[in-house]
């Protein structure tokens, strides 16, 4: 791609203070991301994947290094967490409207946009359900809609499907790539599933065991839309093998 990067990460390191000299979570991580790219960050547990995401979201200050967003200003961020992380006192649609409320948008306009997203994630009829009445997959779809509603520059996903069963998870992959193509978002998704990253990503960054550094930057050239059958092709097997070896 020839477009200017939307996000440049330079020499990023993160050290958490502990009793013996600090816990190094990330070390000299650098990469660039172009607009509308779908990036998966893959790595063993404890490789600092979530730390990286939290730094990008502005929830954590890096110990050293720089995160630079293309146009210089703070980007608008949509984040999806490992758990759906909904407010239990709000209905599905009220949860989705939260980011617009924080922006101070007019209630009716916000509701209108939330309705469109309810359609996009396929939750028609559940607008006024409370989170306790939603299944895990439905709750996670509410969370995705909430992350999209304020039209963020960057979508950060932290193992969003980790808590779902295998069947629901694969359905969510299809949903997510459909939403991603409809919405043209830049996405960074943390995962520990090779299959998931090959199903979704344009590029996969593999982090090493702690302290995490980038071991492999792999372009996934499987054509879209990616179907279930692609995982039985030899090309998929080759890519999976490369990733597997990089993770170690």
């Amino acid at each position: 791609m020839t477009t200017a990067p939307i996000l440049t990460v330079q020499d990023l390191s993160a050290v958490f203070p502990d009793n013996n000299g600090g816990l190094r979570a990330l070390q000299n991580v650098s990469f660039e991301i172009c607009p509308q790219e779908f990036i998966c960050v893959l790595g063993p547990s404890g490789s600092g994947k979530t730390t990286l995401l939290r730094i990008l979201a502005g929830l954590l200050k890096p110990t050293s290094g720089k995160v630079d967003f293309g146009n210089g200003r703070q980007p608008r961020i949509g984040m999806v967490f490992q758990q759906a992380n909904l407010m239990p006192w709000r209905t599905a649609i009220q949860n989705i409207m939260l980011p617009l409320e924080l922006d101070g948008m007019d209630h009716d306009a916000a509701k209108e946009r939330a309705r469109k997203l309810i359609d996009l994630v396929g939750l028609q009829g559940f607008e006024s359900s409370l989170p306790r009445d939603l299944s895990g997959g439905m709750a996670q779809r509410v969370a995705i809609a909430r992350a999209l509603i304020h039209d963020p520059d960057l979508l950060l996903l932290d193992e969003p499907f980790g808590s779902l069963d295998a069947l629901t998870r694969e359905r969510m992959w299809t949903e997510l790539s459909r939403i991603w193509q409809a919405r043209q978002k830049t996405v960074i998704m943390v995962t520990h599933s090779i299959e998931e990253s090959l199903f979704l990503a344009d590029r996969v960054l593999v982090l090493t065991q702690r302290p995490g550094r980038i071991k492999l930057d792999l372009t996934v050239d499987i054509p879209r839309p990616r179907e279930d059958e692609m995982r039985y092709t030899s090309h998929f097997g080759e890519l999976a093998k490369k990733l597997k070896e990089a993770i170690g």
Binding site: A57, G58, R76, I77, F81, P88, L98, L102, R132, H150
Partner: protein
């Protein structure tokens, strides 16, 4: 038999009323058969007619009003202050360290023991009663505010920060609704305690209020009047408890498990 049981179960909203009536009947029975003078145990009818007399001469209305006023002022002042300080304590471990010895000490000293002191300092008027009331309400509301605010899920805090929410927005849209269930159960305890606080203050020294009526009744062997005042206190406590419980059920309807 099984049918009867099922019927009782179905009509359990009446059970409370039935149990009350049975209690009244038992009281009446004892007062009739035990042959006690009425200044030891007046019968329900004597208490009722004393109630009508007190109602007619205005003394019941005045004294209940005074006690209710003290309770409400104390409850609002105590709960209000406890909410603000509780929120600050929840947010700052340093403040918690500074205040902890005083808070624990204030709970270790029985209120009955400091009530005379407060009456000496602030006089027998309503102010000392409001103060005692506020003191007794303060602690449960404070503790539940601290626990409630600390129970806000950190992941939801992350969410708010990732959306660049301001401090005010976090307070309004996250912390208050998340802390509300625990806060309100503290307020429910506080509402009942506030009645105790007001009466303790009045018993120590006052010239008005239901506690004052109890003192008068005791001094004049007007035991029926003592009973009237006690029943008024029970009613006040029940009404206050009921109001908070009603607010809880309205505000926390999303927590269905509460009613199960």
């Amino acid at each position: 038999m099984a049918d009867a049981l099922r019927n009782i179960h179905r009509n359990r909203r009446w059970l409370g009323l039935i149990s009350l009536l049975m209690g009244l009947f038992l009281w009446w029975l004892v007062s009739q058969t035990a042959n006690l003078p009425s200044f030891i145990l007046p019968s329900p009818m004597e208490v009722w007619s004393r109630f009508l007399v007190a109602l007619a001469d205005g003394s019941l209305f005045l004294n209940t009003g005074v006690t209710l006023f003290e309770i409400l002022c104390g409850l609002f002042a105590g709960a209000g202050l406890a909410t603000v300080i509780g929120y600050l304590v929840a947010k700052s471990r340093a403040l918690e360290r500074v205040l902890a010895p005083y808070l624990v000490a204030s709970q270790a000293v029985p209120l009955v023991a400091i009530a005379p002191l407060l009456v000496i300092w602030f006089g027998p008027g309503m102010f000392s009663k409001i103060l005692i009331c506020a003191l007794i309400v303060f602690f449960p509301v404070l503790v539940n505010t601290v626990v409630g605010v600390r129970a806000v899920p950190p992941a939801l805090n992350d969410l708010m920060h990732s959306l660049r929410a301001t401090r005010g927005q976090i307070l309004l849209k996250l912390e208050i609704p998340a802390a509300l269930p625990i806060f309100l159960s503290g307020l429910r305890i506080g509402a009942t305690l506030s009645v105790i606080g007001a009466v303790v203050g009045e018993l120590v020294g006052s010239d008005r209020g239901l506690g004052f009526l109890i003192n008068i009744g005791r001094g004049q062997y007007d035991t029926a009047l003592v009973f009237v005042a006690i029943f008024m206190l029970i009613i006040l406590a029940l009404v206050l408890y009921g109001i908070v419980a009603w607010i809880e059920s309205r505000v926390l309807s999303w927590q269905e498990w509460r009613s199960q």
